[in-house]
Structures are given as C-alpha cells and as structure tokens.
C-alpha cells in the first residue's frame, strides 16, 4: 500500500510499504477513505516530538471501511464504515471505565518510554512517536486498528465522510476544550489560535452557552473563519499587548475562561519569544509557551485556563504566581475522544454543526509532503487538509 512516512525533520515521503495485518485478536483492518493532516502532525514534522523513527507512518485522523477483523472482534464486521478516535483505549482499565480514555493504562506497548519522561504513560496514539505506542498511522491506504471493539464509531449512511471525519480528533478536541471551561450563561471565552482546533473550540463554546468568544490569531483567513462563527477577534500582530486588549474588551474583568489552542509552537516577535525559539532550536526546551503565559495573565480571577494545545516538556517562565493569586483552574490533556463520539455525532445529525466548514484543501495522498509544508507555513490560505489515499495524483 501507499503510506506517508516520516523520514526526519521536515522530511516526509510517500512510500510503498507492506499492507497491515491483524496482529492481535482484537484488531481490525480498515481501508481508509479519508484522512486529514492535524496541527499536532506539524510538531512531528518540525521535529519537536522525541522518539520518532525514520520510516514511521504518520496520521491519526482517519476513517474508512472495515476489511478484516480479528477473532475476538464482536462489534464490527467487514463492510462497516467507521471513524476512529486518535487515542487508542482498551475499554477495560480504570481510566477507560471512568471516561478518561486518553489516559488508558493498557494500550501503549512502549509505556516504559513515556514513564521515563513523565512518570506515567497515557494511552497509545496512532502515528505519534514510539513513546506514545509506535502505532503505524492512517495517512495511508490501510491501517490496523487495535481494540477495534472499543474505539471505532459506525457512521450513519446519510452522512458523508467529510461530515464525520473530524470526530476522530479536532471536533472532540475543540469541544472538550470548551467543556473544560465550565461555561455559565453570560461567560466570555478567549481562544488563542484559530487553527482547526481553535475553530471547533469557538463553535463549541457558543454551543455550551458562552455569550461572547474572543478569537486570537494573526492569519487573516483564520480570523475571518472565526468571525463567521460570530466571534470577536484580535489580530495579535496588530495590537501592542494581547492581555491589555482582552482587559479592554471585557470591561476590565478579563475573560472568564481562556483556551490555549496553539500549544508548543506559538509564534512571538517579542524578546521572550526569541528566547523560547532559541532554546527550542537548541533542543534544551521542547516548548515555546508564549500563549500559555498570556492566557494565565489574562484570565479573570477565579477563571479557568483550558489547554488543548500540546506541550511536551518543562515549561519556562510560566507565571504560576499569577495563577495562584487569581485562584485559577487549569484543565488540559489529550482529548478523551471516545467520550464525545456519540454526543457530537448527534449534534452533526441534528444539523447544529457541519464540521466540513473547516476544510480548505482536498488532495491525493501523494501531495501530503507538499501539503504539510504549506499548512505549516500558512500559505495558500490553508486551514485544514483532507487527503484521499486512493485518488490519483494529477
């Protein structure tokens, strides 16, 4: 089959590789019909996630048709059309049973690596480093899905691929980010980053009752997509100080909740920003926490800072004192995707949202290396790329 392989920092190639096989009794094999590139993939592309190996197959947002099932699989049969959570969960451990699916105890075959770095290991993820399982990803024509009775969601025939594909990650991620804000009627929520995750966080915050959402980015098409959702916007490249601007826009209170939908690769043209960038390029730090600092500083007293953006290591110069002084609540983590599949599918079926709004590019798999580059560099007005692994390159 054809698959997109990581060959090093900024080096991707579409290669011919073996088809995946059933390796464990609970596995299923999918023929992938659509797969997407995520902002999280950019952290791999840019070489910021440790324990990648050349040859690793990327991709964690995908859906497709079941073509084979392991002997223990009961809920799926050949021909079923499913969308698959990017987090791999066993369904039986304490964390799975308490809906904390991305913390599954049993799905990471390389748990020891994550334990060395973080003390404990979360769930395995598709196509996201060996520390997080080393599972081959889904930017490919076929994929093996472990614990196939637990994760995959069968998709109703009246919904097309593009409407449900993002249940695999970014819709639940944006939704959980908003849910973590514990939104009350009348709340003001600020969202840093108007990438795909930010877009879903903005829409979810409104769904959950926010009165006003303030979206922050500097990329025009992303800001205008936020405006289409009725968010107020701040172009951070055009204001002196985002924190002051937010105070100004909230009657001096600060937003009730702040969502960091940017994560470890935030840009900043300020002195601390260059300091972060230098440290990151020397690999003494994984993260550039510009946005997190602003979110903590801006949040109103007693508010919540919700962090869907990914961080990997030890963060420098975090104003923890401000967090303490204002009695802030912090919520974060990989998304518990399984928990949100059905409720969010319902919202799609009810017509409350059509997740396809975020797609700007539809391309064959061959174009993926190129697409990573223009998606990262915010060229061609790219916001979200969906790949068809079976389409012929033009």
């Amino acid at each position: 089959m054809k698959a997109l392989c990581w060959q090093g920092k900024n080096k991707l190639s579409v290669e011919s590789v073996d088809d995946p096989k059933i390796l464990s009794s609970g596995d299923a094999i999918l023929k992938i019909t659509r797969t997407a590139i995520c902002g999280s993939d950019l952290h791999l592309y840019d070489g910021y996630i440790p324990t990648m190996e050349p040859g690793d197959i990327l991709g964690h947002e995908f859906m497709g048709e079941v073509v084979e099932t392991g002997p223990k699989v009961e809920n799926l049969k050949v021909g079923d059309r499913v969308v698959v959570p990017f987090t791999i969960s066993c369904g039986h451990c304490f964390f799975c049973k308490t809906q904390q699916w991305s913390l599954c105890d049993n799905s990471n075959p390389n748990a020891w690596m994550a334990e060395k770095l973080y003390g404990f290991s979360g769930s395995g993820l598709f196509g996201y480093s060996h520390m997080l399982g080393g599972y081959a990803g889904g930017q490919a024509q076929y994929v093996r899905v472990p614990f196939a009775d637990v994760g995959p969601l069968k998709v109703p025939q009246d919904l097309n691929d593009e409407q449900v594909l993002f249940l695999s990650d970014i819709f639940p991620t944006g939704y959980m980010a908003a849910e973590n804000c514990d939104i009350k009627i009348g709340d003001v929520v600020a969202v840093w980053g108007c990438g795909p995750v930010g877009q879903f966080a903005i829409r979810s915050a409104f769904m959950l009752g926010a009165e006003k959402v303030i979206a922050i980015d500097r990329v025009h098409e992303r800001l205008s997509m936020a405006r289409q959702a009725k968010a107020d916007i701040i172009n951070y490249a055009e204001v002196d100080d985002v924190v002051e601007e937010l105070k100004w826009m909230t009657g001096g209170r600060g937003p009730d909740a702040c969502i960091d939908a940017v994560g470890m690769e935030a840009h900043a043209n300020t002195l601390p920003g260059w300091y972060d960038k230098t440290k990151q390029s020397l690999r003494v730090a994984f993260d550039r926490p510009t946005v997190l600092r602003q979110a903590i500083q801006a949040c109103r007293k007693g508010g919540t800072v919700s962090i869907p953006g990914v961080y990997g290591g030890f963060l420098d110069k975090i104003p923890f004192g401000a967090g303490f002084a204002k009695a802030l609540t912090f919520k974060m983590g990989q998304t518990h995707v399984h928990k949100y599949l059905r409720p969010l599918l319902e919202r799609i079926q009810n017509g409350e949202i059509d997740p396809a709004f975020v797609i700007t590019h539809r391309l064959p798999l061959e174009e993926a290396p190129n697409a990573y580059q223009f998606f990262r560099d915010k060229q061609q007005e790219c916001i979200k790329v969906v790949l068809d692994p079976w389409a012929q390159a033009a």
């Binding site: 089959m1 698959a3 392989c5 990581w6 060959q7 090093g8 920092k9 190639s13 290669e15 590789v17 073996d18 088809d19 995946p20 096989k21 059933i22 390796l23 464990s24 009794s25 609970g26 596995d27 070489g47 440790p50 324990t51 190996e53 050349p54 040859g55 690793d56 197959i57 392991g70 002997p71 223990k72 791999i88 066993c90 369904g91 039986h92 451990c93 304490f94 105890d105 049993n106 799905s107 990471n108 075959p109 390389n110 748990a111 020891w112 690596m113 395995g124 060996h130 399982g133 080393g134 599972y135 081959a136 093996r144 472990p146 614990f147 690999r283």
Partner: protein, 254 residues
C-alpha cells in the same frame, strides 16, 4: 540474608553495594566517555545531536551506576483491576505463565520453577527456585535454589482502595554474576531486573484486564535506514520484526 514475607521490613533493609577499584576506573571512563559524547552531540545538528547526547547521557548514567555491584533490591507495585484471589490464582497456575512471562517455566522434574534470564550474545542463565511460603490470595514468597543466580522475594496481593482491584507488590533481592558489563548490556536491552519485573506486571495487568497484550510488532513501516534501525535498538523494539500469530498473547520480555 533471610527474607521474610513482611514487605516493609524487607524494603527498609539497607542495601550494601560494595565497590572495587576496577569498577571505579570503569566508572570514571564511562563518565568521561559520556561527557565526551554528550559534548560531541551538542556540537552536531538534528537527530545526531539528540541521539549522541542521549547516548552520552546514558553512558554517564551508567558510569555513576557502575560504582555499585550488580546485586540489589527491586520493588514494583502495580494495580490490576481484578480481585486479589483472582490475581493470586492466575499467577499460581503455571499454565498461565506463558501469557505474561517468557522467563518463567515450571520444572516438571522437581517441585520448583525455572527463571531464565536472557543475556547478550545469546547466553542464558537458568535458575531454579521454589516457593518458600504463601497464603492463598495474600502473598507468595520464593527463593532461588543454590546456583549462579541468587534471588528471593515476595509478591503481595493487597485489595486496592475504592474497589480498584488488587495492588500487586513485588519486592525482591538478587545477585547476578558477570557484574558490570552484564548490567550495562542488560540495561540497554531492557533487562534491568526492576524494569523486567515492571514489564512482566504490565503484561499481567493487560492480560487480566483486557485479555490481550497490545503490540506493534509486525506492522508495516517505510524505509528505516541505518538511523531507524539504531533507534529501534535504543528504544528496545524488536529488530528485525518477527511475524506473530494472530490471537496469541505476546510474551513478556522482548
């Protein structure tokens, strides 16, 4: 050395680690080599920077470790979402052993079991051991019979709070021949005793909680190249990838 079935006294026992001048010299050499590699690593770009620095740090760490002889204690505790009696019965039944450990076998001749430790270059150490004391659903204590490898320990099964199953606690002492090199190589291959126990308990938990052990052995990949192959060794991943039969539990160890 006597071992009791009381976990606490065992674990608080001080752990003497004799040193000799040879191991001190080796230790100094490893530390220097480690610092050198780390410095070289930091002067390079890209993955070389990371892997050389990591290898350097590793040697440095080994250097510090070499001042200890290769005997010691290990303790690992793991919570398994099953009742203590169930876990006890599962472990006590040697028919289940292959499901979670490749190192444990029943000795059909004697009323004892055999622990096999893999060593680099294909050598293996076999050690006979027997259960010295036990109480159903509570604990199992064992001790090695005379041989090159000495080890003894106890597995306790405590009910976990909040109905979360069983806290399986393993505490053991060991003495392994071959000293320094066997240890550094064993560590590279993931065979450090404490880590081995932890990995075995992890598989036991996976088998008992979800009936299967997750694996990525045998999945496709693009061209690994020299760098990829080297990283696979560093990350203790099987190399080359052997095919494995579907539906079979993977064995602990590798």
């Amino acid at each position: 050395m006597t071992i009791t079935t009381d976990l606490n006294t065992q674990l608080s026992k001080s752990n003497s680690r004799p040193q000799n001048s040879r191991s001190k010299k080796l230790s100094a050499a490893l530390l220097l080599g480690g610092a050198g590699l780390a410095a070289l690593g930091l002067s390079r770009r890209g993955w070389q920077r990371i892997s050389l620095a990591a290898a350097g740090a590793y040697l440095g760490y080994e250097g510090i470790n070499q001042t200890r002889a290769f005997s010691g204690t290990a303790r690992v505790s793991y919570t398994i979402g099953r009742e203590p009696e169930e876990v006890y019965r599962f472990i006590r039944d040697s028919a289940n052993w292959p499901k979670f450990s490749a190192a444990l076998k029943m000795d059909p001749q004697r009323n004892s079991f055999i622990l096999t430790l893999g060593r680099p270059f294909g050598m293996k150490i076999h050690s006979h051991a027997e259960v010295t004391d036990e109480q159903e659903g509570k604990f199992i204590a064992w001790s090695s019979l005379p041989g090159v490898l000495e080890h003894r320990g106890v597995v306790h099964f405590f009910p976990a709070p909040g109905g979360r199953g069983t806290e399986v606690s393993v505490a053991l002492e060991y003495k392994i021949p071959g000293r320094m090199f066997s240890k550094s190589l064993a560590l590279v291959r993931g065979k450090d005793p404490e880590q081995s126990v932890r990995e075995t308990l992890r598989v036991l938990k996976q088998i008992m909680e979800c009936g299967e052990h997750p694996t990525v052995t045998g999945q496709p990949s693009g061209k690994r190249g020299f760098k990829g192959a080297a990283l696979r060794v560093m990350y203790r991943e099987p190399q080359p990838e052997p095919p494995s039969a579907p539906g079979e539990a993977q064995l602990a160890g590798d």
